[in-house]
């Protein structure tokens, strides 16, 4: 059975009292008295559904997603590469899933060995000395790294420059870079870029004795390898500051070039970009960081270590005794099941495979850029002038946007062709950032080119096709402005079945009846949370007013 057309009711709307999809054996011990004053009068109002309906519901929802498994997904900066099946198998191995994180080191030697291998491999890939596997994602890696940098400069026996609290970042930096600085209590200062590259004169002017680091992305967010990076590193190092690399774009250079070799002191990886761990509708990822040895004393506890064979105790262990460490940045010690997939991917590829991956990612991006540039302007890509892109490129399709066609229209039209839209409006307004990854076949790349050229043609001849895209039978373009103006962030407390459904409109005749959205579209102000109207109630605003900065 295929998923129904039209909206799928919420799981709460499929609830029928008394249904259950899971059961437990009867209690086999004597009951003890419950502490009455702590008890809740009734359990939380969760849905009550049978197992088949549960399975059908989440199977139908899955059918409403684009995914790498089903679609070309050229989302720039996100590296939507193929997620190998064997990695999922590895992560589901009971020898790993059933490990408790507080077990003795002696009980978890296989897991620790795996983490230890990965630590060494990532250090080699980075060209740096030490790795911490703990951060939960790229942004958390940035945060952890900035804390490490701060601790180093605060240490009188090392960096000894507590005044270094300024962090520089190019104006094309990913939003997490400045946001991570704020969370660390550091000031972030924008460095201008020209032609997609860091403006060196501006950088020289901005670097001073209060500068802790520059956060760069290289290849950068415009899809270019910044060839001045070694000069950038020199400028920072001469001023006593450090160079941080946002490793989101490592897929272009793994095995080809090592950040440590071009002057980077500290960096993060995104395993969910470079090393094929799946994005899972938004997460989980992992953001290991790599550092030069002078920064390693400050890494979070614990670190995985290997004992010399002569000394007693298990071969691999977690080292909690790190007096200069910044402490903990999360519970336990990492996104283990993600790191396990990362291990499995690196192991499968091997040194030659990794390099082949990077080269193919770059090849595919340049191929697409070369084939599209006549219709989709590529400001930084011009093979005649020997200006190539790394693993992704941006296009600013100005001629197509001359009429009343918007970038969003182009993006939404791609959905009709089964292609996930590229990243939009970043790092510059009205750009598409296209990253095909190494995974795709030539046939898929060529198909994408055809689709893009078709859409370019449509933009000029049939713009209405774009304006109303996507033309899916189940749902048209959604009103995101309305969603933000009148936030409905949870289903109403009352079972929605009690609300009169709207009569199906003519267009909907052949579909399932529209779900009962009446109460949601016009939220009843008297209804208590969770459906609330932030605009009307006025109570969602007081703390967002001017004058109060966000930490």
């Amino acid at each position: 059975m295929t998923a129904p057309n039209g909206p799928i009711p919420l799981i709460f709307e499929k609830s029928s009292p008394g249904s259950r999809a899971a059961d437990l054996p009867p209690l086999d011990v004597p009951a003890s008295p419950l502490p009455q004053h702590h008890l809740a009068p009734q359990p939380p109002a969760l849905p009550e559904v049978g197992q088949l309906d549960l399975v059908r519901h989440y199977t139908h929802l899955a059918a409403r997603n684009f995914s790498v498994d089903a679609n070309f997904y050229p989302l720039g900066s996100c590296t939507m590469k193929y997620n190998p099946r064997v990695n999922e198998l590895a992560a589901a191995h009971p020898g790993f899933t059933a490990l408790h994180p507080a077990q003795d080191d002696a009980d978890v030697q296989g897991a620790l060995q795996l983490l230890h291998d990965l630590r060494l491999w990532l250090a080699e890939i980075a060209g740096l000395d030490e790795v911490c596997l703990q951060p939960c994602a790229g942004a958390h890696g940035e945060y952890t790294a900035l804390k490490v940098i701060r601790a180093y400069f605060n240490d009188p026996a090392a960096g000894n420059a507590p005044q270094r609290r300024k962090v520089l970042a190019p104006d094309t930096a990913h939003g997490t870079n400045p946001a991570s600085c704020t969370m660390c209590g550091t000031h972030v200062i924008k460095v201008p870029t020209t032609q997609g590259l860091v403006d060196l004169d501006a950088l020289r002017r901005l670097v001073d004795h209060e500068t802790a680091a520059l956060m760069i992305t290289n290849p950068n967010t415009a899809g270019l390898f910044d060839h001045t990076v070694t000069e950038i590193a020199r400028i920072l190092h001469d001023a006593g500051a450090l160079l941080y690399l946002d490793g989101a774009n490592m897929n272009a250079i793994v095995g080809v070039s090592r950040p440590g070799d071009f002057g980077v002191d500290i960096m993060h990886f995104n395993t969910h970009k470079t090393f094929s761990t799946p994005h899972g509708c938004g997460g989980p990822g992992a953001g290991p960081i790599a550092v030069r040895s002078f920064l390693s004393p400050y890494l979070p506890v614990p670190q995985v270590r290997q004992r010399l064979t002569a000394s007693p105790g298990p071969r691999y262990y977690l080292d909690w005794d790190r007096p200069k460490s910044i402490g903990k940045v999360r519970s336990f010690f990492g996104q283990f099941a993600v790191l396990l997939r990362c291990w499995s991917y690196i192991a499968a590829c091997g040194p030659r495979g990794l390099r082949h991956v990077a080269e193919t990612a770059v090849l595919n991006a340049n191929y697409l850029a070369a084939r599209l540039r006549h219709r989709y302007d590529t400001p930084y890509f011009d093979p005649a002038a020997r200006r190539f892109c790394a693993h992704e490129f941006i296009t600013v399709p100005k001629p197509l946007l001359a009429g009343d066609v918007s970038l969003t229209d182009i993006a939404k039209r791609l959905i009709d062709f089964g292609v996930h839209p590229p990243t939009m409006h970043w790092p510059v307004h009205d750009c598409l950032m296209i990253e095909p990854t190494e995974s795709e076949s030539l046939a898929t790349l060529d198909h994408f080119v055809e689709v893009m050229l078709t859409i370019a043609e449509e933009a000029l001849t049939h713009p209405e096709l774009l304006k109303h895209a996507p033309h899916s039978p189940s749902l048209g373009r959604l009103d995101e402005v309305a969603a933000a103006r009148n936030p409905i962030l949870a289903a109403p407390d009352q079972p929605a079945a009690r609300v009169q459904p709207q009569p199906p409109s003519l267009e909907l005749r052949n579909h399932r009846p529209a779900p009962p959205v009446a109460s949601a579209v016009h939220p009843n102000p008297s209804q208590s949370a969770p459906v609330f109207s932030a605009g009307k109630a006025g109570d969602a605003r007081p703390f967002a007013g001017p004058g109060r900065s966000s930490r």
Binding site: Q42, A63, R541
Partner: protein, 471 residues
Amino acid sequence: MDYVQITPEQRRSMLQAIGVESVDDLYANLPPEARLSRPLQLTGLPVGPSELELRAKLDQLAALNRPAAAPGAACFLGFGAYDHFIPAAVDALASQGAFVTAYTPYQAEASQGSLQAFFEFQTQVCRLTGLDVANASLYEGATAVAEAVLMALNITGRRRVLAAATLHPHCLATLRTYLTDLPAELVTVPACASTGAVDTEALTKAVADARGDTAAAVVQSPNVFGILEDWPALFAAAKSASHAAGHPQSLEHPGPLAIAVFNPIAAALFKRPGDCGADIAAAEGQPLGIPLQFGGPYLGLFAARAAFTRKMPGRLVGQTTDPQGRRGFCLTLQTREQHIRGAKATSNICTNQGLLALRATIYLSALGPAGLRDVATQCFHKAHHAAQRIAALPGYSLAYTGDFFHEFVVNCPCPARRLIDAGRQRSVFPGLDCSRLGIGSDRQLLIAVTEKRTQADIDRLVTLLSEVSPS
């Protein structure tokens, strides 16, 4: 196997289409000193890693582990990570490629599956916490608590954070890291040595000492010893002490905020954070259908009162409509987030724990209200049965008198270490050595009992403890 599909032949034709001779030409921007002129040296890498060999290597590594939650083992380990029953449907549904290999649902029309699931998740978390708004997940428990505290600092403009000493030590340590270098001060509020719960008077005093500068009071229940804290009394005390000190609470001056660190299974049985005066609730969501998997990835749960919506960290899914008025979902209130707001964002979080949130959603939908309460109730009764039998053994006693949920500390007549080592041959994992966790002595065991443990498992535990000689 590098999973690349482009053939050498195709590569040549693609290079031609670009107008270059070799891939090296495409790296023209790489300065020579930035080029690696040798192959990477990946030590210990299995050679010739075909899938078959890779799987053999993974099996070898897995075989070096002794998993506490393996079939046949009796696992009494807790400390924030619990061995609960996971219905088969959770794995089956959450491992669909359409969920596993999708990105963050920025393109709403291409992501309705994830978006609706997260909307259901947010609704479920609201109902578990008794609060108005929940986000679509944070990384894990400790960072979720840290985010709650940062949010409270931001909302109140105050500096002092009062954290119960009975918070999970990793949570407390993470909080400490997050607060250093910020204009904030962390003060821990001690627990009563006999009950194992936070002392209301100590909290009242800490609030008074802060002289109106208390941004938040953070209390975990069940706490790290498994003891149920008296949230209503503690939160009321924090607020009234602040009031008494001449700092009444109002919309403009909302401090101090009450932050409840909860257990989502316990929420099916006991009063929820929102029912106890909490303004923000944060939790480790691992118990909701997520395997132990050596500590991660887990799931950060986060909910707050509606008034604080625009100060919340993380993604929010909202309901909206298409041109035909049909209901759909999209990410919303994104002006809070880093990709719009940069340095002024409410948090730096970008990638979150989507797939784990999906697991939790399916788990909660599978169990339903009765099932989840059943899980909680069985945890309670099994833990209490085990505790009574252990306390009846010569030399053993419960360390604390407070009411507990499914975890408790016992004083042992011998080093806990010896019991743990003796359990190894019998596949009994009797608990954790409190000295190793930093929450007690080396003669104390922290024991957790979930619904998965049978009477027979508990017999094995009691037998182990009774047989290991105290000498």
